[in-house]
């Protein structure tokens, strides 16, 4: 009968109207500034620089190798390498970035900088509220605004951070072992040198017969 469909439709929409007041699931809107959706773990927005410890000026992992700057497809990273070296968080003497800028208005969130970084120093952040009345200055993030602690990274991306921490731990263990081996080799070489003091001239041309490394002053 004509009109049945209209009545049915009216009933259906009325049911929907009432349900939004009764059933929370039927009003799924999350009212953004007050309420926030939990972001999925894979969320990524713009890169940030990881630092260990509490002081970002000392603990920055970045050694200004500039690989990310070269790899960045939209060229939004700008690095100036320091003239001097300083002791980093591992106790090694390294360069550090005197200037590290990322223009987030250019960044396309591709994560290539993260993938190429050999020092686990740059990671993707989840912060997305960058709206500002200043188009240029406020969207050019310098190293002070980019620096965030490793604890922050562990919080936003726990799985990735655990992986990254494991890589770091393995590397430092390797470095430690190597340092130890180097020290032993050095000691052995010194002993050998000491034993062969009388005829130093022919032996000094040759490397030590079975030393673990080729040079005691090698980095890492």
């Amino acid at each position: 009968m004509l009109g049945q469909g209209i009545a049915k439709g009216l009933l259906q929409t009325a049911r929907n109207l009432v349900a939004t007041y009764v059933d929370k699931d039927r009003l799924p809107t999350i009212e953004y500034p007050e309420e926030r959706q939990k972001l999925p773990e894979a969320t990524r927005q713009f890169p940030f620089l990881v630092h260990d410890g509490d002081d970002p000026s000392k603990g920055l992992r970045c050694v200004a190798c500039q690989i990310c700057e070269k790899e960045c497809p939209p060229k939004c990273i700008y690095i100036v390498k320091s003239k001097d070296k300083r002791v980093d968080y591992k106790g090694q003497t390294q360069f550090y970035p005197a200037v590290f800028d990322i223009d987030v208005s250019v960044c396309m969130s591709c994560q290539i900088c993260v993938e190429v970084c050999p020092f686990e120093a740059i990671k993707m952040d989840t912060a997305f509220e960058f709206s500002t009345p200043d188009r240029f200055g406020a969207l050019l993030l310098d190293k002070h605004r980019l620096a965030k602690s490793a604890a922050h990274y562990r919080e936003i991306h726990p799985a990735d951070a655990a992986e990254s921490d494991a890589v770091m731990a393995a590397e430092s263990a390797k470095a430690e072992a190597k340092a130890k081996g180097d020290a032993e080799a050095k000691a052995k070489a010194a002993a050998a040198k000491l034993a062969a003091v009388p005829n130093v001239s022919p032996e000094a041309q040759l490397p030590p017969p079975n030393s673990g490394s080729d040079s005691p002053t090698m980095p890492m």
Partner: protein
Amino acid sequence: MTSPDQIFVSAKEWLVALFPAALQPMVGALVSIAAIVAVYPAIFALTTVVERKLLARFQNRPGPNRVGIPFTKIRLAGFGQFAADGIKSLTKEDIVPRDADRVVHFAAPIVLVVPALLALSVLPVGRNMAALDLRETGLLFFFAIGASTELSVFMAGWSSRNKYSLLGAMRGIAQMLAYEIPLILSSIPVVMIAGSLSLVSIAERQSAVQWGVFHSWHVFTPWGLAGFLLFLVAACAESNRTPFDLPEAESELVAGYFTEYSGFKFALFFLGEYLGLFAVAGVATTLFLGGWNAPFTFLDWIPSWMWFFGKLGSLVLFSVWLRATLPRLRVDQLMDVAWKYLLPMSLANLVVAGLWHFTAAWPAALRWPLSLALLAAPHLLLGRGFQKRFGPRVYRYAADPRPAPANPAA
């Protein structure tokens, strides 16, 4: 102390009595005009927010709930929205197309709003509360004024020199002319039974008591019920409300006849449309829903003007509900509904009203089924034809001549 029912009437009398006798008729008219110009746009402002909030709820959204008092945290549940919208439309640039007919383009929104306000003036909004009681021509005046909105639609569409505007205006004219006829024919039974064109006396007539506690609203009769439903459909079309909003179909015509309007002129069109909706809702209330009468005699203590505006508001909310439910008709379906359904049904309703008038002495057990049968038969017969028309459209001339692709599953 006057009763709350007559509070506005006595307030007006008191105000008018302050002036010398020579000025009193004019002051009285000015007070009534001021009341109309203040009250209905205020309802319009409220309606815009309520409609948006309700539509949102129908679609499982919260709707506007932010705008409150500026510079504070008070949000008023979004009811400051109309003020923000008003300020926005007042301060927006008023763009007139270079090739437009400037005079007609300027006049069109005014030609829409003024008749809508005039049409509202004949409505009896409460006991003794009609701004303009035209004893001989009330309803006729209303329809005559209401028809002039078509002129505004065409003025807007034609003067804009824009194809969408003109198409929208053409659609608007076709639709409004087609639905004017069932609108008037469905209200004629009321005039036949009441024996008067005055809206005031039609409303008064419905305060008679029947079945003990009921006021005799016209909707409580077979012809009144059918007439009310027919009037509602035609009124929806006449005020360009969904599902009859073809003249401003966004998906096809940008914004229809007011595509080229911006700023305050656009707001005037918006206002005019809603005033038109209030006018037809007010007339539907007066003709069929007992005007300012309460439904039951024991509710008579509630002031009459509250009943009128309550019923008007309910009809407006119902139109929002319809808007949230029904999709837009196609143009051919629109014409079908007007000429092949509403027109014959309203003619059948005239016959039923005549029957009702002449069988006043018959017992209700005979009168009711006979009247309902006389209405149900044409409804069923006409409806059978529509079942086919309202299905999916079959393009006979655009059939694909290629063989159907083989089913990959087979």
